[in-house]
Symmetry: D2
Subunit: 344 residues, 4 copies
C-alpha cells in the first residue's frame, strides 16, 4: 500500500521534472556508468564476393553523376539504420567505373581507404595525385581537399573508413564542394612521400597537429617492410607482427581519430585470445585463415571484411601467410587515457 | 512508368542489401556529411530556484543510501531521454544532506563540479580531502578514486559535468566500487595544490597524460586572480575576460575531454555576437546579466544554469559585474582539429 | 733506435697535419671521451658577510651610471678568469643603491635572480613591474626586455644566475639596449602571476616554447606551499623536500637552459650521499646547516652561497629548519638525455 | 692624479676580490654579453685529396689495434688545439683498412657519420649491422652500443661528426667498453629501417626521447627522394632544396644536439646570401660548385669538406647538379629559442 503511494509520488515527481527538461539520475545511473564495455556492436563478416556483387549491381543502378555516393555501407547488425560499423566508425565499399570522376570536396570527417581491387584508380589530395594499387593505404584527413577517379578499363573497388560518428557526437562537421570538378594537380606524383616519408623533412616544415603531409602508403613498400621484419621472427602471441601507419613528421597516427594497422601472421600461426577497448574493422590483404570472435568463427579469404567489436575476446589464425589490414579509434582512446587491452 | 519500374528495382536492391547488414550510402550521404553543424541541441535555461526546489524534493524522496544518485539531470529539450545537455556532455545538479556520505568509486568518465550552495561539503580524490566552498571548481578525472560527503548542517548543492556521451561513443567505460565506503585520507588538505599549483613541482614528478595531479581550484584564488587581471582592462569584445582552468604540470586542460572556464564581464559590458563549435554549459557564479542565444533572451541570476548549443550565435551582457563558469568539450575538438569560432 | 725513428716520423706527420689545420685523434681521444665526468670545477663557499662587504665597497667605487655592471662575479676556484661558477653557469652578486636605475635591455642569455637582502627593489619584465622581497625568485628569460631599479632607502642585493657559457658555446648571443632608459610599465603589478599562475590560463594563450609568461615567483607563496607540504612528512633521504620552479603553461622549467629549486630540510635532517651530473649553485634562504662536498664541510648561514660541482658526492644536513635555493643546467641535460643521479 | 689614485684603489679592490675567487663584472661585461655572435670560428676548406692522403698515411703509422682512433681531426684554424671545427662541434675523417674491427663501446657523446669512400665497411648499432655505401648517413646516438669494421679489400673512409664540446660544457660525459670486441648481431640487416622507417611503427613502440630507433639512412633512398622532389622545381633562393634527416617516430632530429642535412642545388643554381646562428660542416656528396663565405671563395669537388661558421654570410653555387651533406647544432639552438637566420 505504502509502496503504491510512494510509487505514485515518485511518478508525479518524475513527471514534474520532465516538464522542466529535467530527469532523475536514480533511474538511469547504472546504464550511464557501466562496470565494463557492453556488447553494443556485434561481430560480423562480409565475403568479398558478396560485396563485389552488390557493388557492381550498384554500378548499374547509380549513375556516374552520383558515383561519389555509390557506396555500400557496412552496417553493424546490432546498429542498423545508423551507418555505423562500430559505435564510433563508419565503413563502406566504394566502386568507381572506368572514366568516372568524383568532384573535389572536403569535410571535417577524416577518411581512410584500402584499395581492394583494380588498377588505374587515382586519388588527388591537396593538389597531388597518386595512382592506387591493391593494398595501398590512402588517407584524406580532416578538411583536406580530395577527389578521385579512374583511368582504368576495369572497376576499381576500395574500402572506406570514416570517423563520421565522432564528428556527429561533437556536432562539429563542416563540408565544402570546390564547385569545379577535379582539382588541379600541382605536385608531381609521389612528391609528398619523397618529401616527408624518406627519412627526411624539408628544413622549414612546421608540423600541423591534425593533418599528416603524407596521404599515400603504397603496399609495395609496406609488403617489403613486412618481409624484412619477419626475418627477426619475433611474434606477438596474439597479434603476430602488427604495425600501425605513422605520420613521420610527428610519430603519431596520420589521422587523429583513427589508426590503421598492417599485420602479418605467418602460415600456421594460431593466435592466443585478446581483447581491447577499440573495436576494429579488418580486411584480408593476402592469404587465408580463421577468425574467432566469442563463439563465432569465420574462414577468411582475400578482400573479405569483418568487424571485431570492442572488448570482445577474439583470436586470429593463419592457414597460409596472412596479411590483415585493420582500422580502429585507438589513437583517440589512447589520447583520452581510455584504451585497455587484455590477454587471455 | 519507367520511374516506377526503376523505383521497384531500387527498393528490391535496398532490401537485398538490408538482408546482408548493408545499406545504400546514396540514400543518407547528405545527412552523414552536413555543410555545417546542425542545431541538434536547443538552448535552455534553468533558474536555480527551480533546480534547488527539485533537489530538496529529491532529498526527501531519495534515501541517504542512494545519495550518490540523488541528482537532477539537466536534459537538453531537443535530446530528451538521453541524459545529455549537449550532444557530448552530461550535466546534473546534486544534493548532499548533512551527514551523508557517497561510497568511494571510480569510472572511466571524468567529472567536474562547481559548488553552487552550502559550506561543509567535501570531496576526497586519491586520498586527499578538500572542503568545498561556493564557486570552487573540483575535478575527478578519468579513473581517479573519489567520494564525497557533508559535515554540514545545511544542504550542499553542486553542478556536475561529465563526458558520459563521449565514453559511450567509444564504448570504453569501466567502473569500480572500492567496496568499503569512504577512502582513507592519507594526504593533508591542500597538499596537491601546494605541491603542484604554487609555481613549483616536485623534482621527480613525471606527468601522466590523462590525469591532473590538482583536483581543487578554490574560488577564493580564482576570484582574486580575476580582480587582479581586470585592472589591465583588456576585454575581448564578445567574452570579456575569459580563462580556462589549467593543469600546471602540462599547461593543458586538467581533463582531456572537457575544458572549464571562468569569465568576468564588467558591469555594463555588452558582448558582441560569437559562436563556436563547442556547445557550453554555463552557471552564474556572481552577478546578473542577460544572455541571448539566437532569438531567445534570458535574464540570468546567481547559480542559474544555461546551455548554449554549439555553433549557435549568442551574446552575453552584464548588468552588474558578472562572473560566469562554463564547461565544454573544447579540448577534445581542438585535439582533433575540429574547433572553430566565428565572430559576428 | 726504431722507436726514435718512429717517433720522428710521427712528429713529422703531426707537423704536416698541423700545417693543414688537422690534428691526430690518437693523441687526444682519451681526453675527449672520458670514462666519467671529471672534477673540472671545484666546490666553493662564500659567506654572505664577505659578499655583502665587497658589494657595498663596489657601491662606492662604481658609479650609478654603471650600476648595471656593479656585480661581484663568483668564479669557480678551478676555472679562474672565465666568469664561470660551473662549466656551464655564471653567478654574480649584484648591488643596487637607493634611486638607481638600470637601463632597459635584452639579450639571448637568460637570467635568474634570488633576492638576498633589501626591500624596495623592483624588476620590470616585458612591461610589467614587480617589487622584489627577500626569497623572491625572478627570471628574465632569453630575449625578454628587462630593467630594474630601487625605490628603497637601503641597499638591495641579489644573486644572479646566467647561462652565459651555454650561449657562448653555441655562439648565438645577441643583445640590444632599448635606448631610452626604463621601459614603460603597461601591465599592473602581479598581472602575469594572476593571469597564468592561479590555476587558469587566458583562453587564447598560445605557449611560446622558450619563454615563460610568469617571471615572478614570490617567496611568500613558495614558503606557504613548503609549510603545507611538510605536513605530509615524506622526505627524500638525500634531498628532503625539493621542488623545482615551473612554468604552469607548459609544466617545464621557466627557462630552457636552467632549472631553479627550492628545498626544505627539517631541523635535524641528515641527508644521505648523492651526486648528479648537474653541478648546482646554492643559496641559503632560511636556517643553518652543514654541507659536505667530498671531504670538505661548510657550516652555512642565511644568504651564504656555495657551489656543488657536477658528479661530486655531497650531503646536506639541517641544524634548524633549512631552506635552500639552488639552480643548475638540469633541464638542458635532461632534454639531451645526459642527466644522471647516483645515491650513496 | 685623482685618476691614478682611483686606479690604484680599483686595482687593490680587484686584487682583494681575486683572493676570494671573485671577479669584477664591470671589467668583462661587454665580452660576456656581445651585441651579436662574434667570428670565433673561421671558414675553412679541406680537399678530399689532402684528407685521403693523410688518412692513408695514418693507416700506415697507426696499427690495427688503434684503428678506432685512427682519425684525422679537422680543427678550425681559429680554434687550434681544441679538437673543434666550430665552437660546439667536432669533425674528423676516419680510415678503416681491410679486415679491421673497432671494439664495441658507447659514450654520452653522439656521433654521426657520412660515408665518403669505399664499399664493405659496416657499423653495428644496438645489435643490428648495416653495410655502408658512399653517401649513407649513419648515427650512433648518445649511449648506444656501437662498433664498426670492414670486410672490404679497399680502404673505407668516412666523415665523423660529434657533439663532444657540448658534452664537455655540461661535463656530463660517460663512456664504457663492452670488453669483448665486436657485439653480437641479433637483428637482421635493415630491420630497424623496415620497422620504423617504412611508414609504419610497431603497435607497442614507445618513443624514447633521446635516441632514434633508426640509425641508417641509405643514400640510395635519399637520392631517389631528391630526384623525385626536384620535379616540383621549387627552390629556396639561398638553399635550393634542403632537407633534414628525421626520426620518423618523433618527427624531430635523430640526435638531440645535432641536425644533419641533405641538399640539392641544380646545375647553374646561384644562391643568394644567407647566414644563420648555427655554423655548419659540409661535405660534397655529388657534383661541383662554388662556396663563398665572407670574402673567401672555394671551388668544391666531391668529398671535400668545408665549414661555414655561425652567423657568417655565405652563398652556394652549383656548376653541375650539386648534392651537399651538412651538419650543425641547429636542433639544440632551436630548442633553446636561440636559432636565427638572416637572408641577404
Amino acid at each position: 500500500m505504502e509502496d503504491i503511494q510512494r510509487g505514485d509520488i515518485m511518478a508525479d515527481f518524475h513527471e514534474e521534472l520532465a516538464q522542466e527538461s529535467l530527469a532523475p539520475l536514480w533511474e538511469v545511473l547504472k546504464a550511464l556508468v557501466p562496470r565494463e564495455p557492453r556488447p553494443v556492436a556485434a561481430p560480423a563478416h562480409w565475403s568479398f564476393d558478396l560485396l563485389r556483387k552488390f557493388a557492381l549491381q550498384a554500378g548499374k543502378l547509380i549513375t556516374a553523376e552520383q558515383a561519389e555516393r555509390r557506396v555500400i555501407v557496412l552496417e553493424n547488425p546490432a546498429l542498423r539504420g545508423q551507418s555505423q560499423i562500430t559505435t564510433s566508425l563508419y565503413a563502406g565499399v566504394q566502386l568507381i567505373l572506368p572514366g568516372e570522376v568524383a568532384p573535389t570536396h572536403r569535410h571535417t570527417a577524416s577518411a581512410l581507404r584500402l584499395l581492394l581491387e583494380g588498377e588505374g584508380g587515382y586519388t588527388i589530395v591537396d593538389g597531388e595525385r597518386v595512382e592506387m594499387h591493391p593494398g595501398d593505404f590512402i588517407i584524406t584527413p580532416t578538411w583536406s581537399l580530395h577527389d578521385h577517379g579512374s583511368d582504368s578499363d576495369q572497376p576499381v573497388i576500395w574500402l572506406d573508413g570514416l570517423d563520421v560518428p565522432i564528428v556527429k557526437l561533437l556536432n562539429a562537421g563542416f563540408a565544402e564542394d570546390s564547385g569545379n570538378g577535379r582539382q588541379t594537380v600541382v605536385h608531381p606524383e609521389g612528391d609528398s612521400l619523397a618529401r616527408y616519408g624518406s627519412g627526411l623533412t624539408p628544413v622549414n616544415y612546421i608540423p600541423k597537429t591534425a593533418v599528416s603531409p603524407i596521404f599515400w602508403y603504397p603496399y609495395a613498400r609496406t609488403r617489403e617492410a613486412l618481409e624484412r621484419m619477419r626475418q627477426r621472427a619475433e611474434w606477438d602471441p596474439a597479434e603476430g607482427l602488427r604495425l600501425t601507419f605513422t605520420d613521420p613528421t610527428t610519430g603519431g597516427s596520420p589521422i587523429q581519430t583513427m589508426a590503421a594497422f598492417m599485420q602479418l601472421l605467418p602460415a600456421g600461426f594460431s593466435g592466443s585470445e585478446v581483447r581491447s577497448t577499440d573495436g576494429a574493422v579488418y580486411s584480408v590483404v593476402e592469404g587465408s585463415g580463421r577468425v574467432t570472435v566469442g563463439d563465432i568463427t569465420w574462414e577468411v579469404k582475400p578482400r573479405d571484411i569483418f568487424v571485431v567489436p570492442g572488448w570482445a575476446w577474439h583470436r586470429l589464425a593463419a592457414e597460409t601467410d596472412l596479411i590483415l589490414f585493420s582500422f580502429s579509434d585507438r589513437p583517440l582512446q589512447q589520447k583520452l587515457g581510455f584504451w585497455r587491452e587484455q590477454r587471455g
